[in-house]
């Protein structure tokens, strides 16, 4: 019977390991996205390096916005298109308005298209790094500062930067309650 016991123990370990593996897939996936630019995820913390060289190339950046779940918000880029020099820092901003009659908490999720260019889109400053609080009727400017990395491959086309604004008031309230 020891043979059987041994089999059971080994197989149970495999089961536990595979369960763990499903959770391990979460960070693996994030790493994978970072490397391949899957989903156009951009850096989640401010870029503070200074290794980016100025370059004589220019690229067009298009700015896009979305409001998730039809939240009572207006959210638009202040300019929809900029032609920028590679390696130079630029500022722009989005405008958000709260159309509801109460204070809202929001968070923005960025996405760069084509996804493989996400790694060259370096944000020095971005409203997406933290949550926003916006009062009823308030209009807010949300700034970003960015640099296009000079590692950007030649013959790249336009880059599209999109933000989706989520109303997370309910979940913020819930965490505060806990």
């Amino acid at each position: 019977m020891t043979g059987t016991k041994g089999t059971i123990v080994k197989l149970s370990l495999v089961v536990v390991a595979m369960y763990g593996f499903s959770y391990a897939l979460v960070p693996i996936y994030d790493k994978f996205c970072e490397i391949t630019g899957l989903n156009g995820k951009t850096n989640e913390v401010a870029y503070i390096g200074n290794d980016i060289q100025k370059d004589n190339r220019f690229v067009t950046i298009k700015f896009i916005s979305n409001v998730a779940n039809s939240a009572p918000l207006d959210f638009e880029p202040s300019v929809t298109e900029m032609t920028v020099q590679v390696g130079k820092a630029y500022n722009t901003h989005y405008v958000m308005k709260n159309n509801s009659s109460k204070q809202l908490h929001t968070t923005a999720s960025p996405s760069v298209t084509p996804g493989k260019h996400a790694e060259y889109f370096k944000k020095v400053e971005c409203f997406c790094f933290e949550q926003q609080t916006i009062n009823a009727g308030e209009v807010k400017d949300l700034g970003i500062q960015f640099i296009i990395d000079n590692d950007l491959p030649h013959a790249s086309g336009d880059i599209i930067l999109s933000y989706t604004m989520f109303d997370i008031t309910d979940s913020v309230k819930e965490t505060n309650r806990l």
């Binding site: 043979g3 089999t7 059971i8 499903s22 996804g115």
Partner: protein, 524 residues
């Protein structure tokens, strides 16, 4: 024909009536429980399919509202996969593995009892969600968030029942592996095992490696919904596509779990009725193993349209195409087994032959789906529905039916009525094609899957498919009738019911004694 079940029962002091079935630890009893349960679930899932096909008989909504339609498609898939096909294979494993390897019973009889009795509870819970005010699950069996996070109160119940089903499968798989690795008759080396035993061994490893991943995925869904995690919502830095990756990391091995035992059955039946040894036993084993291994690196072919990087799309296209090679080897081996054989065409053989042809058609559409740029057109249309029904119904289900006809005389000591069996075969085969073949056409012509109503140009083929589905359903009533007639007969079957049958099970009396091999047979 010496042994007699009733006599043996007394010998082992079995409790009688219902308690016998609840407390049984005997592999044959548990095998029967699994098979009956699976038959019941076939009819429950089938009823849902008929509701779907009735609604799709013509355009416009006639019977159900869209929300209920979505519950039907979701439930139909969950019931058929986890309630019908998987338990049927486990039932066959329970009956056959000990007899085929020369063991008295499964290695872990008590565990065996639990793995079965979890199922009725899990399915009662799953089905009860249909009666909730907010309805049952309606996001598809793939449970993609964010849609599945929007559902009503049914979600935690569905997830809990899936956990139970997963646990049952894992326990069953551990039992299968423990039995095969430790209880073979002396002299039966791994490469002498019957091919059905091999396919089940590999399937069990797939189960152990993939079911826990499903458990992880649905647990993450649950915590996303109720405990504020955000694995899958962009608002909290998560990603809905991550769920799809984890789900299909389980899901693709799962589809092979649904077919490998069927390969084993067909590889047993074809030689028996060709009166010739299985061609290329070794390469069959290697092909099965390589299909199983490859099945872990092809998952993203289910999600070509989520917008993966080019390199990812190419990688998953190549690996998926590669799976066609070992699958092809299997088909060629079956044909070579028949070649220069001496064939007869009893019901199990007919089902096995239909399996080869129709499964191969499903393999062809699979190959087409593997071509990423073409899949952008096929994906989420009825073409995919046609593909997976071809591999699952005339694939997995036909193999199960063939196995039942083939081993029924061994299990019961009674032979089914051959004429009725043939009628059952022809009706089933004709209707299965009438049901699923037109789905290729509407799919290519642009009909999406999972819709309750469709544009009028899809009407004709949908009508045909619905007629076929009802015919298919009715044909299965004949199957139940045949089983009923068989069981009513006296015991008359021979120990070796088929002239060309090979294997240890045929050295036992029919019906097989309660404990298969009390003294292990010698395998030279």
């Amino acid at each position: 024909m010496s042994a007699n079940i009733d006599h043996l029962k007394e010998e082992h002091h079995q409790p009688s009536g219902l308690m016998r079935w609840i407390t049984t630890t005997n592999h044959k009893d548990i095998g029967s429980l699994y098979l009956w349960f699976s038959l019941l679930m076939f009819f429950v899932g089938g009823l849902m399919a008929l509701i779907i096909r009735a609604e799709l008989f013509q355009p416009g909504l006639q019977f159900v509202v869209p929300g209920f339609f979505n519950q039907m498609t979701t439930m139909h898939a969950l019931i058929m996969i986890f309630g019908a096909v998987m338990p049927a294979f486990v039932g066959l494993a329970n009956w056959q593995l000990p007899m085929m390897i020369g063991a008295p019973d499964m290695a872990l009889p008590r565990l065996n009892n639990w793995s079965f009795w979890i199922l009725p509870f899990a399915f009662t819970m799953l089905l009860s969600t249909l009666f909730f005010e907010s309805g049952g699950p309606a996001a598809g069996w793939t449970l993609y968030p964010p849609l599945s996070l929007q559902g009503g109160n049914s979600m935690p119940f569905v997830i809990f029942s899936l956990h139970l089903l997963g646990a049952s499968s894992i326990l069953g798989a551990i039992n299968v592996i423990a039995t095969i690795l430790n209880m073979r008759a002396p002299g039966m080396t791994l490469m002498k095992m019957p091919i059905f035993v091999w396919t089940w061994l590999i399937t069990a490893f797939l189960l152990i490696a993939s079911m826990p991943v499903l458990a992880g995925a649905i647990t993450m869904l649950l915590t996303d919904r109720f405990y504020g995690t955000s694995f899958f919502t962009a608002a909290g830095g998560g990603d809905p596509v991550l769920f799809q990756h984890i789900f299909w990391f389980f899901g693709h091995p799962e589809v092979y779990i649904l077919i490998l035992p069927a390969f084993g059955i067909v590889s047993t039946i074809i030689p028996a009725f060709s009166r010739k040894k299985l061609f290329g036993y070794d390469s069959m084993v290697y092909a099965t193993a390589s299909i199983a291994l490859l099945s872990f690196i092809v998952w993203a072919h289910h999600m070509f349209t989520v917008g993966m990087p080019l390199a990812g799309e190419i990688f998953f296209m190549f690996t998926t195409m590669l799976i066609a090679v070992p699958t092809g080897v299997k088909v060629f081996n079956w044909v070579a087994t028949m070649w220069k054989g001496s064939m007869t065409f009893e019901t199990p053989m007919l089902f096995a032959l239909a399996f080869i042809i129709l499964f191969t058609i499903g393999g062809f559409s699979g190959l087409m789906l593997a071509i990423t740029p073409a899949d952008f057109q096929y994906h989420d249309t009825y073409f995919v529905v046609a593909h997976f029904h071809y591999v699952l119904v005339p694939g997995a289900v036909f193999a199960i039916i063939a196995a039942v006809y083939y081993w029924l005389p061994k299990w019961t000591g009674k032979m089914y009525n051959e004429t009725l069996g043939k009628v059952h075969f022809w009706m089933t085969t004709i209707f299965v094609n009438i049901t699923f073949f037109p789905m290729h056409f509407v799919g290519l012509a642009g009909m999406p899957r999972r819709i309750p109503d469709y544009a009028v140009q899809f009407t004709d083929f949908n009508m045909i498919a619905s007629v076929g589905a009802f015919g298919f359903g009715l044909s299965q009533l004949l199957f139940v009738y045949i089983l009923f007639l068989t069981l009513k007969q006296p015991v008359t079957a021979e120990d070796k019911s088929w002239e060309g049958a090979e294997g240890l099970e045929w050295t036992l009396p029919s019906p097989a004694p309660y404990h298969s091999f009390d003294t292990p047979p010698k395998v030279e």
